[in-house]
């Protein structure tokens, strides 16, 4: 007795095996694709969250934004991860960090221009205004003006210029062609009053 398979000519049997093999390979490719996609989606969505979740514009202060580290905020794990992933610790709870990368007109800050920061800094025990790199790092202390070293106008207003060339009054040098501004308040006083941050204008490009 012989089975049907044995009875099949060799060419037909080879074709059947080939078809079976191709089907298996296709299924494996689809499976790998689906799970590869799942892994990429899991990692990609987390990385997206680290950069974007918890960041919000400051009300009444166009252009400024801050990253929420409020314990009640559902985005807190993403905000913490944003710092830890780069080997950094988040700001202490007493520190409020505000950043921006463009002037009031929405034009990116450019080291070839003179950037003027003008306004009253919210009351705090200590504050700093820095020109930072794109990741928020002040590469040198000379890129930062502190409340201890600032000269204020008679009305208490701050006028600070960021420029590659020396400027009269408060002046700091930009760290790179494209940069960000960071305003940091340590132990802010009068937290009940609405926060208004200085205006930023660019000229002389």
């Amino acid at each position: 007795l012989t089975s049907d398979a044995d009875a099949m000519p060799l060419q037909q049997r080879a074709a059947a095996w080939l078809l079976q093999g191709a089907g298996l390979a296709l299924r494996a490719i689809i499976g790998i694709g689906i799970f590869g996609g799942a892994i990429a989606a899991g990692i990609g969505s987390a990385l997206y969250g680290f950069t974007h979740f918890g960041v919000a514009p400051v009300t009444n202060s166009a252009g400024w934004q801050s990253r929420s580290l409020d314990a009640q905020d559902s985005a807190l794990p993403y905000s913490l991860a944003h710092f830890l992933m780069d080997g950094r610790l988040p700001p202490p709870a007493s520190v409020k960090d505000f950043t921006r990368s463009a002037d009031d007109a929405g034009v990116a800050l450019d080291a070839r221009c003179v950037v003027e920061i003008r306004g009253t800094i919210p009351q705090a025990r200590w504050w700093t205004v820095s020109a930072t790199d794109s990741e928020g790092l002040a590469l040198r202390d000379s890129h930062t003006l502190t409340s201890g070293g600032a000269i204020l106008e008679p009305g208490g207003e701050l006028v600070l210029r960021i420029s590659s060339t020396p400027q009269p009054g408060n002046w700091i040098r930009p760290p790179a062609n494209r940069y960000r501004i960071a305003l940091t308040l340590h132990d802010q006083l009068n937290t009940r009053t609405e926060l208004t941050l200085p205006k930023v204008q660019q000229s002389g490009c």
Binding site: I30, G31, I34, F35, G37, A38, I39, A41, G42, I43, S45, A46, L47, G49, F50, L69, A71, L76, P77, Y78, L80, A81, F83, L84, M85, D86, G87, R88, L89, P90, P91, P92, A93, S94, V95, D97, R125, W126, T128, S130, T132, E135, G136, L137, A138, L139, D141, H143, T144, L145, T146, S147, G148, G149, A182, T184, H186, D187
Partner: protein, 187 residues
């Protein structure tokens, strides 16, 4: 039907990977960075951070100043931080290994020239049930001699920051900081 099943499993996989990426990987990444840097890898030792390390580890603490760092490890017992800060503005922050702030102190709250803060592990849930931990152990207490802080985790990071208006005072501040310490508490 098989395709739907595969898609559901894939979605669950993606969600699981997302959760691990958010809750676990950042902590491991930070630990790896800490071990890489000589200034931050030693446990239970107060280290005055070189300015480059300070700028990358604590990007929000900008401008001239002195930052000291202690990698608190409670696995070998309680740890004590003794601070002798200047009479200017300073702040101490203690972070959990997941980056959450656990404890903070500044010169107004301390109101004294020398501060001792003792850190120990809070009793485990089993310890509390078995009665090995008293109420005093569970609730953080403050007395005139020292602050006692209980941490649920064996590891934490303490950061002390003293900003200076005059960059010329930073060297002096670093010398002063050497009189402060972070060490295993002697029995």
């Amino acid at each position: 039907m098989k395709t739907v099943y595969r898609l559901v499993v894939a979605a669950l996989c993606a969600a699981l990977i997302h959760i691990v990426m958010v809750l676990y990987i950042p902590y491991e990444a930070f630990r790896a960075y800490s071990k890489f840097d000589v200034a931050t890898r030693t446990a239970n030792q107060l280290v005055v951070l070189p300015s480059d390390t300070r700028r990358s580890l604590l990007p929000s603490l900008r401008g001239p100043g002195v930052a000291a760092y202690c990698n608190i490890d409670l696995t070998k017992g309680p740890v004590s931080i003794l601070l002798q800060p200047p009479a200017t503005y300073w702040s101490l922050s203690v972070f959990s290994r997941s980056g959450r702030q656990l404890y903070a102190l500044n010169e107004r709250q301390a109101d004294t020239a020398q501060i001792a803060i003792d850190f120990k592990r809070s009793p485990s849930l089993l310890g509390r049930i078995m009665g090995t931990g008293t109420d005093e152990d569970i609730t953080p207490t403050i007395d005139s001699a020292a602050w006692n802080v209980e941490l649920s985790d064996a590891q934490a990071y303490a950061v002390m920051w003293i900003p200076y208006a005059d960059p010329g005072l930073v060297k002096l501040g670093e010398e002063q900081m050497k009189s402060s310490s972070c060490s295993l508490k002697k029995a």
